[in-house]
Amino acid sequence: MGALASYLRAIGRTVLSVGDGLAVTFSYLLRAPVTLQYPDRMRVPVIELLPERSRGMLEVDLDLCTGCAACDRACPIDCIALEVVKHAERGRLIQRFDIDLGKCMFCGLCTEACPTGAIRHSHEFEGGTGDVRALVVPFVDAPRQPAKAKQEPPPAPKPLGSILRARMPGPWDRPRPPARPEGGEHAG
């Protein structure tokens, strides 16, 4: 009889505590949803929601780069390939500045080492690509002279991400799936 009573009491407790839990779950019917349906049903693009310090994919403004290679030395995993050559007539030339975004671990050590702010983290993060080689982004088209450390007047700052977008085919170029009508059935 005792065993049966404790068995029944356990069932009772289970029903009550499950009811407790369900009360919490059902209370969420009345609260505002927090889920964001990324990527196709965002009201604001995610990139505009990111905080200022957000470390996205790297980009290099060659109008600021002095070719000092501080970033190259600071990088723990050698994802920056920087070649500066000496030309007989034109002096020092930046011949190559490639960043392998597939290797990059977004630590920010290069941006902290850069004396002029030429290399910086954009907020871009949607770098999905079908070919890993597409993640190596070249920033130098033809050998060019490095910038001076102090320029008067300083060149106009370029909008964050604009340099990278111009150089890397990314999801921003691909056709998006048509946005689903608002208030329709749940996605997926």
Binding site: R13, T14, A74, P76, C107, G108
Partner: protein
Amino acid sequence: MSPELQQVGREEFVLNMGPHHPATHGVLRFVLHTDGEIMRRAVPEVGYLHRGLEKLAEAHTYAAYVPFTDRINYLESMFCNQVWSMAVERLLGLQVPRRAEYLRVIACELNRIANHCIALGSIAMDVGAYTPFVYLLREREAINDLLEALCGNRLTYHYVRIGGVAHDVDEGWQGKVRAYLDHLEPILDELHSLVGGNEILVRRLGGVAVICASDAVGWGLVGPNLRASGVDWDLRRDRPYSVYPELSFEVPVGRGEQGQVGDCYDRWTVRVAEMRQSVRLLRQALERLPAGDILAKVPRSIKPPAGEVYQPVEGARGELGLYLVSDGSPKPSRAKWRSSSFAALSIVEHLSRGLMIADLVALIASLDPIAPEVDR
């Protein structure tokens, strides 16, 4: 009856659990020697996620290794950053500014709450309740947003640096953290009615896989797993570091509420109680945050004098230690990580004798091991 048939049901059945199994928390493998549902023993097989992080330390300068410490344990990167920085600071004899120490405490305690959200969520999920995991993930998401605003990344923070921290905080961010803490406390009560007090969870965890205090100490368990067994030991209080002595908090220990001291349910309750203590610590740290520098004067090239240190901190999973040897060059001579997940896994074989397979899942979840931290 033929002799072959007489043997049926007597031999041991060897079953592989993992390396890809939803209940093994990453790439972990357990070799189960079972007799029906009952296990004779479960042997953890580790090494699938070995990335040679200790060897990598020897190839990088002290400052350049900090982002690698993020990858040791992706759920408590802040503590890994901190322990590396503290070890190097001790080798250098560097004094960290007080504001930086407070910011470290704030960042680390936020990280601890985020980690426990995942730990509790996965315990509930592994014993069959999916909803709490999603609810807790939502809470962790808010911390990820706060930490991203603080240091620029959601998981691999690279925030605590040698000599201080990377970024300062403003009033707006502090207000957001306070608002979050006000939001979190009722959520913890809600968690109890959602799942913590649920009879099914209590039955699945209470009295299961009991670790007695002497076993816990003997196998080197640390942190919440050790405290759940009733051992009152917390490095923040007992080996004080940073500014923890200035802050008041309690160290929750397991009391055997639903069975015995040291069962899976105690490991659950200790983590919930620790989240409340973290909230308390955060409130105090935000209130007392002094003005001043956030980074000490660190030499451009860090070359600690030859010597060795062992630096532990109380991470989210307990004692996270680093043994660091310097030979006076810009690169460490040897770095050895003492990770809490490795200790937690080593006790599994001892405990698994006579356990049901389903209870092994509860045990693994309640020990909260993280595969990358086990293998490093």
